[in-house]
Each structure stands twice: as structure tokens, then as C-alpha cells.
Symmetry: D2
């Protein structure tokens, strides 16, 4: 079974590269399931329902988010009626929408996707480890779920690695998002879980986190805001990772980076043939 | 001109892979200059003078550090007499040692190395951007320096990217350290400066930041320390990046990841032939 | 009904002033209930069972704590068998001890004490607001509880004030601890809850947070540890606040600062007669 | 010599209580010098030139600020032409305005006022201790200055206390601002410097930091912004402290809290007669 996970879509360059490249990838490589983090799709801040629909139409099965989940206030409404939209599961009880859901992949497999937010250098939320334990206990791999994908939206590599070791052997993939930079530490952990500290972003890398670089650089220099942040406008990179999943165990057989278009080194999984 | 930069050495697995692999790399690929961040070489915390000497003997020209620079208190003494040891240049005035120095590479080139620490999610130090401006103005590329290497020791990808854009065209390489995870965003910026958000670590990746994973995972779960952190003991990965430098301009011709041994994907620069 | 709440005991000066002054206060002013935060009683870090017993013997009915609750590892054991010892209620599930308990005051009133930790600029714990809601719903004022005291151990004044307004009219007292400095904002909120942002500490104020000032000042100057922190050794101030409680409603009739001995202005509640 | 220092003016209630009460205090008690922190005077965010003029007209000699100094962008312009407006001295070089200045009090004394910002739990700026050392060395007490007032705008009590001990005997007063809550730890340090961890705010205390409490409480509960913050609209408290200064040494003879109007305990310095 073939999974593709793509990192945070940032603004128009991110949306464009997803719309341009994803449909052909899904078809040519017969991808069974696609998860994309979309928390910065709308001008860098949140996501609208229209953009969500575009991303789903391009081939995503699920759109995850993070600290920017509700930057577009309409998400407080559509979160309830869009089962393919996830926000971090450890938001306070009462938050609109859901943080985990079970989906059926194109090959018929039942895939649990959990979106959770870390706490180191992040806003204070409830314990992500306890939340993961709850979700995975309620729908274990090999029982109710044929595959489990965890989007661990967080800043600190320590927290992401600890979560991955904690879940190793119990989920298919733990992948980080939020730093907007892909890491080169993709690997299969001893227990069979695929891991990468960050999926990177789908956006223009000639930027600061996908945003036009002028204002961020100026703020570091002057410590005083001069203008709003807006997305960079160069060409985007489709960035994430692919996992080959053992259909009998739900664990990972192989994991490899995906990087198409834009400023980064171009990479396709060798196992996509 | 051929530069190799390696990320934070963590404990014995990191020291071992450097000692085992670096001498042959230097010789076989005729490396002109090698910089290694050594801030976690001694049991994960700081570096002793003996270890520093071992790293230099293995082929490093310069050892940089970061927030752990003085974890081993003897560093407060040897920092003064070891010109190849750098600690962040933006430590308070009066801190032992130096944060920047000019070295002569094996090809005769004068290489300025600046070690600086970021401030986002880090301890409070003086402005790294102003410090970089000072150091680079005092020894500009193409005048007193034939190449300039900046080790930007920091957590946040935003700050590292902003520093790189700020320096683009004025230095050879801006590379991050500190997260202990290599990023896959190596590239040459529009102005000719090579950039990678983090060089990763030289250490055992089956770990949390190179440290045995049991105690870090437990702390995330319980929020109460149970034991000291100690380095993991599996085999290490030599991890960093290589830069091919234009000797006339001092800017980057090519940049590529280096990852040898241990748990990560193995990579050697194509331009090393 | 007469309540006394005292802030964080720091080291020997804090323990001494409690032992010297509290018994006479309890007797002379016929105090019905005494709560003391003891998280720094043992050399500035945590509390031992022996010190806990001394504080109870001096007249405390309950000893609360905070981020330092388990600095003395024996607390992981005695927390279970000491019902008068509280640690923050929003520690992870499975943490030894309890974070809330119901006690009987000398006048027969049932007093619920809840110890909770804030999250702004503090270690990441589960939502303190949700935890308070749970505890207070399970034992409401005017039903199972005749008085409710909340020790909100936190750094930020914003979070403490928000908690107080959230609970106003539903508890007797919300008082902050942790900054080791008494605030002068004691007052009764519109709904009848007494509030003070911080109770201050019981310790030597000629110090930095009760600790000998030399090393803390040096660390701010050099950013490098030189020595361990140890408590200051001058004379301590008994510091906190008194609340006069309406026995019919459990709400506050009056609130006033208490400050006895040491370097601070001396204050006794006018309503203690 | 008689000094009055008032904490952060927050919105209309803060401006009103300053305008209503300060002129009579200056006259009746023959105040020689008045410093007010005004960083939240304009709707809670920054200060306009018109409001600055009103505060000066009401009797302030100097208006200090902090992290909100430039929230009103016109401050980037008027900071240059208003010598009585200070912003933190440790902002990056090139920031408009000044962070320290020498003034002449009504009794003819030369008063150096230094506004500096702490770094613990605050935005990253250059070292406040080094900045203070520079300013005070350039204009020492007993030489070019007859009194020195330091507004240390910071969150953490540890940093404020450390700064006070560092300066003890070399300045007249170290007073904190920023938490918007007055502390009850006013005292004269062993070397003769008056100290209080925070002056509190001039504003409506039935609030969260002077802002209407509804939205701040909701954000703590939901973690999602629902509305903008706006100042509370109840009656304000004039809040700060008074220092009696020895004109021969420039050190403090006495220090006492000032709290007039609004929700807090009413206090006037006993030495004001
Ligand atoms: Fe993002
Ligand atoms: Fe994010
Ligand atoms: Fe490191
Ligand atoms: Fe580091
Ligand atoms: Fe404490
Ligand atoms: Fe504490
Ligand atoms: Fe303020
Ligand atoms: Fe402030």
C-alpha cells in the first residue's frame, strides 16, 4: 500500500504546486492514500473551505492542520461538516471539528489519521502523548485500523522523536510538520514505524517559512513590525514523504522523501519505480 | 575549494564515527577545510580539551559550539588558549575564548569562521544579526577572507532562514546547528551563499537528540525527571554537508548532504566524484 | 471563619519564620484553616517528608506545591501517604499524590483545597481551567464544600487574573504562588471571591527569589553557571494573606496582606483585631 | 527630594485617573519629579503623541515604555522629537528615540532616567545589564546625576531582583513595570537603592491586565481568538510608588506605595504628611 504525506501548504505557490503535480502523481504511482497539512494554505494563515475543497479535489484524502487551524474563522464552522478536515486532537474539549478520523483508502484499507500538536515552544495544549495513547487504543493497528498516520505538529525535534519512539510498532508513520523545512532523517524505527522529523512545506522556499522574506528579515533586525507577512510568490516545491506499507502488519516497508519543483533538490522515492 | 561541515558531535557514537571516517574522507576527497560543531561531544554536554584535540587530530580545522559550549567547566580555561575552538560570538563581553577567527585552509585560502547563537526559543544573548554584521564587515569576503562559514546555532527555522537571506552574497555558507536533525533544504541562495537549516548531528540517531531515548520519553510522559540523560550507544552517523567553493568569488558552486554510517540514508556529494 | 494562606517557603529562613511565628498566630487570632505552599522548603528545591511534618506541626492544615513538587525524589513516595500534601492537579494522570482534597477546618467547615499550575511561561501541563472546573463541579461551594481555596501556581499575571474571574463567585479564594513576590492587588472580586495575584514567599527577601543573590546575578551577567543556587541566610518574612469568610455563603468578607519579620513592610489584617 | 513613579497607563481608565488625580498630587505634595510608564495608554497598545502630551501636561516629567513602545506607529516619528519620551535603551541600534536621558527636576536636581527591557519570557533584546552599566557609567550618581531612576520593564521577578542588586548603591530607584500588578515588596536595599518589583498599572483592575476580561478568559478556555482585546471601562487606580531622596547622596531615604481610586486598597506614603 502506497501513502503520500505532504507538509504545510503555504499560500498560492503551495496551492499551485499541489494542484499542478498531485493529480498526476496519484494516478501514475497509484497512490492509495494522501494526507496533506494545509494550515497555511490561505495567504499563510489557515485555510478556507473553498481551498480545502481544492486540495481534496487535487487528490488529498485528508487535510491536517496545526496552530493555524482556525486563523480563517470560517474553519470554526466548516470543521464540523468536513470529516476530511482535521485540527489537533489535543485542543480543548469543545473545539469545533475533530482531531482524528478513520478513512477508507483507495485499496480498501482503513486508515486512522491523528493530528496532534506538540507543546515544546508551542502554545499550551493538553498532553499530546496521552491524546495519542487514547486515539490509538481506541482504534488499534491490526484491529480497527489497517494503517495509522500521525501528523505531529511541533517545533522541537526532541518532542517529535520522543513521540515516534513512544509509538514505534503501534503506528505506520509518525511525521512532523510546522517548521516548514523537510528533514533528512526519514527512516524506519526498530519497531517498524516510519519516521521523519518534519515533512517540510509545499511552498516557495526562497522565503522565510514560505513568506516573503523582506518583512521577516527586517523584524529580526529592528524588532518592530513594519508590514504584514504575506506569502512569497516564486515557484513552489511539493514536499513530503512516501511510505510503502506492509498490508498485513500495517507497518512500514520503506520510506523516502518526495521533493518536486521549486528550489529544493528533486527527489522521488526509488520504490515508486 | 572543498569544504566539509559536520553537525553536533554527541557522545561516544559521535566521536567514534568522526574518528573512524573523517581522516579517510579528508584524504580521499582532498578536503581543504573541515568545521565540526562539538558542543555535545563529552557525554552529551560540552567538550573537554582532550576530546577537542582528538577531533582536531581527526581532521577538523575548527570546532564550533553553542549553548553547551561551557558545560564542561574546563572549557572556560582552554577556550583562551585554543584558537581552533569557537563559542558563540554573541555571548556577553568578557566570556572566555572567541566566537570568530580567521584560518588558513589546506589550499592556502583564508577562511573566516563565525559561530553565533540564535535567540528564538533559546537563551537570551545579544543580537546575532548585529554580531554577524560586525564580524563580516571587519573581514569581508573577497578582501581579508577567501571564504566565510557561519555556524548559526539555533532552534527556529525562521531565524536561520532570515540570517541566511541577510547574509546572502556576503558569505560562503550559512548552516544551522542545534536541532540534531539534518534538514533536506540545502541549496544555493540567489546571491551565491550555500544554505542548510541544520547540519544534523554526528551521533546515534536511534535516540532522542543522540541521547538514550528511555529517559527523554519518560519525561515527556511524566513531567518528572527520573534519571540523568546519557548518550545513546548505537552506531553513529557522520552527518553534515559539503560545499564546493568558487575560489575567485568565495561563493558556493555546489552544496550537497553528507551522511555516512548509522541509521540514516547514506549520501555522498556527487561532486566529490 | 478565618483563613491564612502563606506563600512558598524557601529554605531555612522560610522554615524558621514559619516555625517561630505561625503557632502564636494560629492561637492568638484563632485561625480556622492554614494553607502554605512549601515547594521550595528543602534548600530551595522541593520538600522532604520531615520538613512537611514540621510545617504541619507548626499549624498548617495543607501544604501545596508547584513546579518544584518532586525536586526531592522522596516526594514521589510520601505524596501517596500524606493526604495534607498536594501537588498540582493538572500533572499527568498517574502522577503520585493528589492535587485536590477536602479537609475539615478547626471550626468544622469542610474546605476544598485545589492546587493547580498555570501554563504561560511554565512547563507544559494539561489545561488548568478545565482541571479547576472538574474539581469544583465535583465538590461545589455551598454543597459539599463550605469553602474552596485555589493555589494557582503560575508566572503570568494574565493567567492568574483570568482564572480568578473564571471562578469568581464559585470559590472562596484564588491566590497565586511561584513568583516569590507578594502583590498588592488583594481584593474581593464582584462575585465574592477573594483574589491576590501572588502570596509572596516565606523566606529571606534580601536575595533573588529567596536564594543567595551572588550566583543569580552572576548568571545574568555571564550566561554561564558558576555554582549551585543555595538559599539566602538572612532573616525571613512570613508572607501571605488572610481571608475572613462568610460561613453561610463560603465567599469572602475581607482580605488583607500578612507580612511579619524580615525585610518587608510589616502588615497584619485589620480584621484580626 | 520627592519622586513619584507610576506604572503602565492602560487605556481610558488609566488616562482618566492620571488626568484627574496627578495635578493635585504634584501641587499638594510638592512632588519634584514624576515618571510614568505609558506603553498601554492608547487603547491598551502604545501611545500617541497627543496622549503623551496630555500625560506630560498632567504633571509627568518623563514617559517610559516597554514592549508596546511602538504599537502606535506614529511613535516611530515622534520618538525623535520628544525628549521626554523614552523607549527601552536596549532596542537594536538604529531604533528611533532614546532609552535614557537627563532631566532637571523642579528642585533643580539632575535626574537620569533609564528605561530598559528584561529578556526572561520577553522578546529578545540586547543585554539589559550591560546597557544599564553603560548608561550609569556615563552619568554616575553623585557626579553628572543627582538621582537615577531605572524603569526595568520585565516579566520575571528574578531578573528584576538581580538587576536591583546589581545596581544597589549606584542608583536611586529600580522599579519594575510590565506585569500590570503592583508588588508589595517595596524596600530600600542594603546599599541605599529603593526597589519594587512592579509598580502596577494605572487602569481598571476589574480586568485582565487592564483589558476587558471577557476575551482574555475565553482565549484561555478555547485557545482560539474570538475578538480583539480592548481596555476595561471601569474606574481606574492611580498606582505606583513614592521615593523620598537624600539630596546629598541621591540614595533613597524612604519608599512607599501609592494607590488612589479604583478597586485596590487605598494607600498614600506616610512621609507625604
Ligand atoms: Fe505551518
Ligand atoms: Fe504550525
Ligand atoms: Fe547540540
Ligand atoms: Fe545546542
Ligand atoms: Fe516557589
Ligand atoms: Fe514555582
Ligand atoms: Fe504594560
Ligand atoms: Fe509591557
Amino acid at each position: 500500500m502506497r501513502l503520500l504525506f505532504l507538509g504545510d501548504i503555504v499560500g498560492r505557490p503551495g496551492r499551485a504546486v499541489v494542484a499542478d503535480r498531485l493529480p498526476a502523481l496519484v494516478e501514475r504511482h497509484r497512490l492509495d492514500f494522501v494526507v496533506i497539512n494545509g494550515e497555511n494554505a490561505a495567504g499563510g494563515f489557515g485555510i478556507t473551505e473553498e481551498i480545502l475543497q481544492d486540495v481534496l479535489d487535487a487528490g488529498a484524502d485528508v487535510v491536517t492542520t496545526g496552530n493555524h487551524a482556525f486563523d480563517q474563522r470560517e474553519a470554526l464552522v466548516f470543521a464540523e461538516r468536513q470529516p476530511r478536515f482535521l485540527r489537533p486532537v489535543n485542543f480543548p474539549s469543545g473545539t469545533p471539528g475533530r482531531g482524528a478520523n478513520l478513512f477508507v483508502a483507495r485499496n480498501g484499507a482503513r486508515v486512522l489519521v491523528v493530528n496532534v500538536m506538540g507543546r515544546v515552544f508551542m502554545d499550551a495544549l493538553d498532553d499530546p502523548f496521552a491524546a495519542l495513547e487514547r486515539e490509538i487504543s481506541a482504534c488499534p493497528l491490526g484491529e480497527q485500523a489497517d494503517a495509522i498516520v500521525v501528523d505531529f505538529h511541533a517545533e522541537a525535534t526532541s518532542e517529535k522523536q520522543a513521540a515516534a519512539h513512544y509509538l514505534d510498532g503501534r503506528v505506520t508513520l509518525v511525521v512532523g510538520t510546522h517548521t516548514h523545512v523537510p528533514t533528512a532523517d526519514h527512516r524506519i524505527l526498530p519497531g517498524g514505524t516510519a519516521y521523519q522529523s518534519d515533512a517540510g512545506m509545499c511552498g516557495d522556499y526562497d522565503s522565510v517559512l514560505g513568506m516573503d522574506k523582506e518583512e521577516p528579515v527586517r523584524r529580526f533586525l529592528t524588532k518592530i513590525p513594519s508590514a504584514r507577512f504575506s506569502p512569497a510568490s516564486g515557484s513552489g516545491t511539493l514536499c513530503g514523504l512516501a511510505v510503502e506499507i506492509d498490508e498485513s502488519s500495517g507497518l512500514a516497508l520503506a520510506v523516502a522523501p518526495v521533493s518536486i519543483g521549486g528550489a529544493l533538490e528533486q527527489r522521488l522515492p526509488p520504490f515508486w519505480g
